[in-house]
């Protein structure tokens, strides 16, 4: 049994770090048992990015043939929130502003042609119909850049996406996750030097692309960070292998090497709905 005990704070860095440790515990549990129990009973608070990470892991284990079961949170609010997010396996029906966690898959030998487009169709539809009109183009930009990165570089077999519009609080959470070769891994594969996994993330944000000789490639991550941070005055987080990077609005950006790696890349964003229509173009040049 793996007990989920995450920090009861709204700090994504701490929650992400906590989730990576839980995922490691789940991996260890797999080496001992065919039955995995995730105990959420004492969970007091969970952010959507944490739910995305744990949900992705549970789906991976289920698809590998493990029998999984969940002990639900005693806290009724946490239980209800996880239910809305489609936890643990994702794939619930979208309810206007809630786009439940959505997982998509690609076989290793399969060309990814059309997979992303078809998987994102429902997500884009929900956003177009229910999200603030002045923000739609910006959200499309962020999602498109991130999922195209997954498609282009990650060699994923499992991807996950989650978009939530908290109407009352007036903010939006976006999370995109893949189980691919990671940003540092892609650089290693293409013989691009970096000091450590955090340095690899800074290089990716600067636009150092694995596609040599194509000057307009590699802009997606950096422009997305700029759009969220400056255009939307929001927060932007990347976790890839052992590197965790954050750029929170109004605070100096930073990074940390985590002890335990994530086998993949997670990008999370949180921002408030702006008062006026967002013009994305000054931020993505």
């Amino acid at each position: 049994m793996v007990k989920v005990d995450l920090p009861s704070s709204d700090n994504p860095k701490k929650q992400i770090e906590g989730c990576v440790e839980i995922i490691e515990e789940l991996n260890n549990e797999c080496s001992k048992n065919n039955e995995i129990v995730l105990d959420l009973s004492e969970l007091k608070w969970i952010l959507s990015c944490s739910a995305l990470l744990l949900s992705s892991k549970m789906v991976e284990l289920k698809n590998k043939g493990y029998k999984i079961s969940i002990i639900h949170p005693k806290d009724i609010n946490v239980a209800s929130y996880l239910d809305k997010l489609g936890f643990p396996l994702g794939g619930g029906k979208s309810k206007s502003t809630f786009m439940p966690i959505h997982h998509f898959f690609r076989k290793e030998v399969e060309n990814s042609k059309g997979i992303i487009e078809s998987e994102m169709e429902e997500v884009f539809k929900v956003i177009q119909q229910n999200f603030p009109k002045g923000l739609i183009n910006g959200i499309f930009y962020l999602l498109a850049e991130m999922v195209d990165n997954i498609d282009q570089h990650s060699k994923f077999t499992q991807g996950s996406v989650m978009v939530q519009f908290y109407n009352k609080k007036g903010h939006i959470d976006i999370g995109i996750l893949d189980n691919g070769i990671t940003i540092p891994g892609a650089y290693e594969k293409n013989k691009i030097e970096f000091e450590n996994d955090c340095d690899a993330l800074y290089k990716a944000l600067e636009g150092i692309s694995t596609k040599v000789g194509e000057t307009l490639r590699g802009k997606g991550l950096g422009t997305s960070k700029k759009l969220v941070n400056e255009g939307l005055k929001g927060d932007f987080y990347i976790l890839s292998r052992n590197g965790l990077f954050w750029a929170e609005h109004g605070v100096k950006s930073g990074s940390k090497l985590l002890k335990t790696p994530l086998n993949g890349t997670l990008v999370c964003m949180r921002f408030e709905v702006p008062q006026k229509e967002l013009n994305i173009y000054p931020y993505i040049e």
């Binding site: 992303i116 487009e117 884009f124 498109a144 850049e145 498609d151």
Partner: protein, 95 residues
Amino acid sequence: MRKTVYLSNNFGNQIITRNSIRLFLDLLSNASNKELILDFKDISFISRSCADEYIKWKLSLSGKKNIIEINMSNEVRMMFKLVSLQYKKNSSLTI
């Protein structure tokens, strides 16, 4: 010799990934038609990556095929404009 292609038939309302637009454009490159009319009706969004891929494709066909775009939404037009400007900044290529 003229062919009209409706992008929404292939992509739905959004054009998102380089892989998918590249495969689509490769097919058009091989078409025998000298003039291609690309109808962007119902395309509400094109990603920067796809706009980049499209512009590279159009440049590669310069002098070989006449490419005409119609029914572009403002959002799609703006994305093309932005990527074209980036090309101009980065090279002397004419878009």
